[in-house]
Symmetry: C2
Amino acid sequence: MGYAPSALALVPFISVENMMRVVHATGIERFLAELADYIEQDFRRWQLFDKTPRVASHSREGVIELMPTSDGEAYGFKYVNGHPKNTKEGRQTVTAFGVMAEVDTGYPVLITEMTILTALRTAAMSALAARYLAPEGSRTMAVIGNGAQSEFQALAFRSLVGIDRLRLYDIDRSASERCRRNLAGRGFDIVVCGSPEEAVEGADIVTTVTADKQYATILTDNMVGPGIHINAVGGDCPGKTELHRDILLRSSIFVEYPPQTRIEGEIQQLAADHPVTELWQVFTGQGPGRTGRDQITLFDSVGFAVEDFSALRYMRALIGKLPYYDQLDLLADPDDPRDLFGMLMRAEPQPA
Amino acid sequence: MGYAPSALALVPFISVENMMRVVHATGIERFLAELADYIEQDFRRWQLFDKTPRVASHSREGVIELMPTSDGEAYGFKYVNGHPKNTKEGRQTVTAFGVMAEVDTGYPVLITEMTILTALRTAAMSALAARYLAPEGSRTMAVIGNGAQSEFQALAFRSLVGIDRLRLYDIDRSASERCRRNLAGRGFDIVVCGSPEEAVEGADIVTTVTADKQYATILTDNMVGPGIHINAVGGDCPGKTELHRDILLRSSIFVEYPPQTRIEGEIQQLAADHPVTELWQVFTGQGPGRTGRDQITLFDSVGFAVEDFSALRYMRALIGKLPYYDQLDLLADPDDPRDLFGMLMRAEPQPA
């Protein structure tokens, strides 16, 4: 056939296997730290971003979302689904992939798996927020909910904050044991706890990252002492929260993007005008972070498109240095741009 | 490395090269006819579709859009850009790719190039509309604007409507000559004309498909005689029209989806409540098509997400029969869905 794709036709693609190769070649803790740097850079130029709301398609079993954003030079979007019943069929609750394109030409320049990358960016975002908000010298973190995100959180907090003691709790003890096994040999002192109350004992930081889609009370008010930082990751969609409302009322609350967090985050339990601080304000010094020893700080994490954009941007930089990607023949590129049909016809197989 | 993607991790991918193979293996006219059948089926179950507005990201040079829709079982979206200045740099004005997913699991089941596929579906849609609207026994079509879409239009109209005489006009005569060359040997009687007025002489159908992004008047009122069908393809975004307003006022106007066409189509020139008929109504017999010999019918084509959905659905059916696709390792699929981190760690290269 008379067709050979030109360079303009090809778009780099990072498969699951290559994503794992990139992470290992970089080192996971370094990867998390560099990814956090990219997120921090993008939050510091917050005003540049076109913050389009995500486009959700809801069904009985779940949701499919497109999350686009742009900084004026690059455009990125993530496709992500959320289907809680998937795990019963041996599938992931959440899978994702992402695309980055040049704004100037509209041409895609990267397609990548984002299931693993989202787990990494969620953890990097949490640890980045904690670097500004957690008490100084934090070493002990409780992790309540030991599912797919827990190990990523632990490593990000070690890499960015210096956490080296973990207190794990999950209603399914085998999940905590698996988390402990997965983190063995990485220099953590790990205690598997029998209750959330036991887990939070002596913790500087409490991470909640449970999975049930319901209003839950993972933390009650009496479990939260003065001065701690709460990293609330699991409450991330309407109808799904983890913290008792009274905790929120005692905390200084930090969010990614208020219009989204008020719908999806822990603060869906609060009045629509309850005061919150945006993280970009903290990162640029335009808003206060932690201001006192007894203050309870709370990062109400939901995950925002700008973080995915940062992750795509980081991957694009990495594949400039590492060979772990394929080239997809995705864009039709006729010699004469007006002659798409001619390209198609010249590709017709000739009788032998 | 300890990783081999499972079947659940793999998503079929149709590259540009494989798209061309599929079209040739099927035969382009049969492909257009079958694609039109898929579109007609979907328009006949119009009420099922979730008609989300497209999500556009505008910049100085162009636009990047995501066009999602769903019929409740499958979900599809198209990524498409529009950058008129691209051709100066040897790139396409429009490139596109698409994704189809299962609503029930959120898992993508197809990724495909859509630059060629969009050209095919646009032509199939036009010809399908004409099958209901053009005068009976139509054989002669004027094609004004002989860019990348013109040959696809010609072949779709032959396949679906029986057009075998073409009258071509373009301000760039070499474009018309290229169109004539590309269609040589396909059984058309082709006349290259020196003016739009000459092109429309004796035509049963007039297709306008010019490319300039501006208000233009490709057809003036006196050029449009009674009884013809106008297939207006080129006026497809705000500020871009091809027909004089007086023509619209004399025509029975048919559209894909009024909320979108009133913004993007020829009818952006008319009052917001000017009467139009939706094509799904015509295809289901719930609305009138052509009702008289002297009636001027006008399909104000802009391209709607449901047509892309139909195209994705058709491609999914075709790769069930033809081997022209690759498998992308796109979805992380750990043995234990809760153990994404374990999968990542087991993939770590071991020291030799």
